[in-house]
Subunit: 426 residues, 4 copies
């Protein structure tokens, strides 16, 4: 079910084989550290590294026998390595290996997402620049509001993407810690100095204090960063769905999908799918937070949750970022239709300008608001341009002689350039 | 329902009156900025500030008439101020005022929480130092594990609290932005320069780019920071509940609650309540993230969600942090019982030491693990100390002559000091 | 914050006074049952009932002293009643009173919602009948699909409403149970026979077996029924938002809201608000389910959750059902615009008819699908009616001589009457 | 990740092959119905059925080409069948086939769960009967409360299980509906009569009214039923974890898991895992409810959500029910330890009896409560039995001459039999 959304190289991170490789990397780093500190006979680490071979099928068979994945892994390894294999896992508990290996995994997975986010950012900037001056209707509450440009939408998303990227970076920092402090985190048989050395080899910082496991609040931060990425993609996809509605027609997906029944259909189903996937990623946050309060020095209730939700959420967000970039890159834009839609709005996008001109000329705000609202109702009812109806109103003519200056797109968009400078600099 | 948990000064932030005060502050800052830029007659701002009076009842009455809270606010204000009042809200849209005022609110609310978190941190450090060497059983999966000290629990929570504090700080940064860019965020009638000036007066940075509203991903970050604080409190409270179980008896709430039926009862209901409240705070994250993807330049679906969840979540987390500090400050600790419980464990906390001594002496890890497991089963079945049973085993006697050195609490806790240095420095 | 959505009589159910009244009702029913069984001196119940007076302020003051709401309630009551007051609560535990009183509360609250649902159902049927033959575009994926009638939307919602009503009924059944079995549910001092008698007086069935409390899975069912009601209202409100978009213009809220900046605005904010509120109601399900797994014979973690979420969810769903009925009752419909929109679709809604006619005439489905898709692309590109383009295609002319019979709204909607009969009978 | 929890025959339901088989079953039923009504040449259905072969690889290849799973399925099928294949899918839309096939799938999956629930129910009844009179401490708030029997816990779970089973049955009813009403649910090219005939062949009722799809509120009900099952398993597993804590020691998992570091460990990890899995199942409810409000006659946002969450939730609940049954069947119970724990409670479980005896003898409830609370405090402080301390108190001696009758387990459990009769009958 998930396969459908799993892309390389993200999906390869989550195979059993890759997991055993990470476990081995941690065990070896620990062994080397102990050897450096003289707690293990010299040459042990090198010998073990040379002889260690990971046979997935054998390990799974051993797991069926012993009912514990990491013990099975060690049995098989010890058998491969011979007597020196007994030094493996010396002073460690399973969670030392698993949580430290998890740090290696998450770091890599978050880097893949960061790259995907950058890629999406490039598309956003590109299309923001391309459509900086593509005038279109702004819409609030699904109703015509004032004018905007299509590029500003991309700019807004890009600004949000930078926050998403920051959250991914911070999440990576939060989880780039290892933990080799034993069964209850007291370094009973594996000294802090050895932990520091071993983790340095793996490029990880030591967790300052731990129970049997690393605190799960760190992983909740990862899930929040993922949900925040998914939420941005949802926002983008929702906008594409709204703009590509038949009655709006301002954009179209590059590769819409057909219908088995209605051959004329060109459905924006990628955008719809992205909206659906956001629900899944978001829903992981509850369990991720429930995982944090464990019993005493640890219970195992978090384990199955992470087993399912880590791959699922990473695979989905990886897919979402990739596909969002593709969606926007291939998006077909119809500036002509945008222009036509602006015309359909018959001057309503300028109602605030009229209101403010009246205020500036001395009319009270409440009165001016009421007047323009009344003129708008009349224009709507009669299907006529607001300017024309306003022109007929004596109070308007008296106070606002130059209506044309008000119903003017250029004036409305005079500050777009400044916004771009704020966001993109230069 | 919420009143029960609402503490001062947090609760005062959420009154209607306080909200109107913040709206007024934003309107005045905007007016002053326009005046500085010469867009409003000199002296207007001072005059308006002098005459502006907020009459909550009047505003509510006006709202019932016009059906729009901010328009009602402006009507009443304009009436109070007189003709110059028409310059209020000049070039602004309701969300300019509301979202900018929200920044003022959230900044203050987050500062209150930060202070509460600091207070909790102080208690944590105090009790961590107090119980640095209070030896007790570590427990994993609810079963006896190796020894630890009571202080390490506080230290672990303190370490997590620092991450919570960081999240609160970052959330404050994320939302300390204002937005005065008008109906669709294009600065149609309120120039970027005026926005910068007005926001500077309010101590806020300008949002680089906005639609009608500030992007809701920023608020989702607030809700995550709150959930993360609640999750830590839940973790603490759960531990207190577990340790104060009748059969464990290692701690007791300072003010347990009685029972209407059973007069002997002393129930840790504060801890239980804190666990329940965490569920509520956590549950806000889903809606907070759903709020992010709005239609086009904005729809209003986020508004009712925020109206309910902002006060609720802030009030609850404020309560939770306060009460967690109180709970730990008043917590009664029974070190004697902890010692007695250690004795009940009959040496099992040292099983890893025995395993590793056998390995060090040359026994394969798999064999050693099997042997110590077998000895443990025997000790459990016979209700005897593990050391005594081990002593009877020839292979142990041959390889591990000095069993006493292994069944030794001091050795097990030799690195506690180092962990404290890592977390607390010095 | 919640006040804004609280309607009578729903909101009165949640006052402290109403709660004390329900507690008293339970205590009196229990007392009467004991008296009937001869376990309490004759006349006690009548005397207690006559003297019992509930003074909210006094009870609150007592609660501040003793720190337990129900003990405080009993103290004050005993004082009012005199010596016979000691028989109150005889053999009961607090949860006996609270959970049984909760059953009274929820039963009443669910009946209010059931009435609101019926009211909504009436509006739905009314408008379904009114618009049975109001032809409009069906839309899938936001794109023109085949024709439908506006009434069918109401019919669909009505059909779903009946399921919602059934869920409300079942939830009421699930929680209409009382529990007077004492501190751990063993009837230690209050016999099953007394429970049956007391509950019969209250119109409740006895819970077959309980711990100190009634199982919380029953309440989760209530929250699901509420969420399901909220979800239907969301579905309705979303459709109104979509149909009232400026570019679609097929309906309008009866009382749209204006904008402080743009006087022309008529925003469908009630629909938007209803969508937001659904998020809140939905979010209660997680905590409601977390409340179910309590420790042993009970812990109190569910209590604060219910204190907040019960009133919140009931008040919101009550509001949502009321407002949804009002929204639809006052909804302004524009059949003329619907007709115009159908014309804009230029015959695409009949593409399946063309496909099937080709198939019926012997063309393979794959080929026919490809052909009609190609004709549709051409029609779209050239902005011409599909029928005109199809007419120019030799294969079509050869196999489908009578195109007019295919591009025919009446044929498309021939079975609408049958659907109505299915749902509404007759 | 999910494979680890996937059991037969549940997991076979979710393969691609099984899905295509169900699609074919629906297409054939539809074809047969059309043929019966004379809308398709006689003999077509039989011929198509004979020739239809499902080649998963071929269909997947076609899907890669056309980008639509059901169109690909039809292409391949039409090719296999030859010219008569063009009648397949006549008048249908993809959702007709998919949603109707989903009904077939869910019905079967829910039946598997119902069987698993029955199996769990049998274990519950068995162990309830076995331990009907196994006396143990009741505990509230993790503190000693009054006495209960171990069997009552099973009885309580069994009572809840019956509600879970009812929810599964109702969910099955809710989703056992098919829908063959075409692209927007108007039966444009597939008459209601044909739908009724086709669905009767499949054992499904027709959905009274539909859009392009069946309303998603029906599936939300499935997810609630699943969450409710998971919640019961969580409740059971939590109790096992609590009772098997080293300090309580009243039960033990039949197959506890060891530790890689501490050979003495016997961890109840199955119970812990079941608690974790409940979080996952619960979290599906949010997305399931979000899926309900689709755009107009349908959008596709629900599709990816269902693709992931249906198999995940069904596989997990299937696993949970199976494993819960196994857990309880193999559970090791220590009645001797229960007895010992009762003794440790030194008579506190009888404090209510003492309170009520005082009340019955004429003491005010408030006074009596205070007195027994004071005696309890003294007994706790001095580590003596409550009865002994009470005996020394003049007021007790005066009013309650026969203390032994109060501190009496048999009296406390006199109604257990009645509870069993209520739940199990007989």
């Amino acid at each position: 079910m998930l396969e459908r959304y799993a892309l390389s190289p993200m999906k390869e991170l989550w195979t059993l084989e890759a997991q055993y490789q990470r476990w081995l990397a941690v065990e070896l780093a620990a062994l080397e550290a102990l050897e450096e500190l003289g707690q293990v006979p010299p040459g042990t680490a090198q010998l073990v590294r040379a002889r260690a071979r990971l046979d997935v099928a054998k390990i799974l068979a051993a797991e069926r026998e012993v009912g514990h994945d990491l013990i099975a892994f060690l049995w098989v390894l010890e058998e491969e390595v011979g007597p020196e294999g007994r030094w493996l896992h010396f002073g460690l508990t399973s969670s030392d290996v698993k949580d430290t290996a998890l740090a290696l995994l998450l770091r890599e997975a978050l880097e893949i997402l960061a790259a995907k986010a950058r890629e999406l950012g490039e598309v956003l900037v590109l299309r923001a620049r391309e459509h900086k001056n593509t005038v279109m209707l702004g819409r609030t509450h699904g109703q015509w509001a004032e004018l905007t440009t299509f590029g500003l939408k991309f700019l807004l998303w890009y600004d949000e993407l930078r926050r998403v990227e920051e959250r991914l970076v911070r999440a990576k920092e939060a989880v780039s810690v290892g933990k080799l402090s034993g069964a209850v985190g007291t370094y009973g048989f594996f000294p802090p100095e050895a932990e520091e050395r071993a983790l340095r080899r793996l490029g990880l910082a030591p967790c300052p204090v731990a129970s049997q496991v690393i605190s799960r609040d760190r992983y909740a931060e990862v899930f929040f960063a993922l949900a925040s990425a998914a939420s941005l993609v949802e926002k983008i996809a929702l906008e594409i769905r709204l703009l590509s509605r038949a009655e709006v027609g301002e954009v179209a997906e590059g590769r819409p999908e057909g219908s088995s029944a209605m051959p004329h259909k060109r459905n924006p189903i990628l955008s719809e799918r992205l909206c659906g996937l956001a629900r899944l990623v978001r829903a992981a946050l509850g369990p991720a937070l429930e995982n944090n309060a464990l019993w005493h020095e640890r219970d195992m209730s978090h384990s199955s949750v992470e087993r399912v939700l880590f791959p699922q959420s990473f695979v989905l967000v990886d897919y979402m970022l990739s596909r969002a970039a593709k969606l926007l890159r291939e998006l077909v834009v119809f500036p002509e239709r945008m222009r036509r839609n602006v015309e359909e709005a018959r001057g309503f996008p300028f109602s605030e300008g009229l209101l403010l001109a009246l205020v500036r000329a001395g009319m009270g705000r409440k009165e001016a608001h009421g007047l323009v609202a009344e003129l708008s109702r009349r224009a709507a009812a009669e299907g006529r341009p607001l300017a024309a109806v306003a022109q007929e109103e004596a109070r308007v003519r008296a106070l606002v002689p130059d209506l044309a200056a008000i119903f003017c797109p250029e004036r409305a968009l005079a500050h777009v350039e400044a916004i771009y400078r704020r966001v993109l600099g230069g």
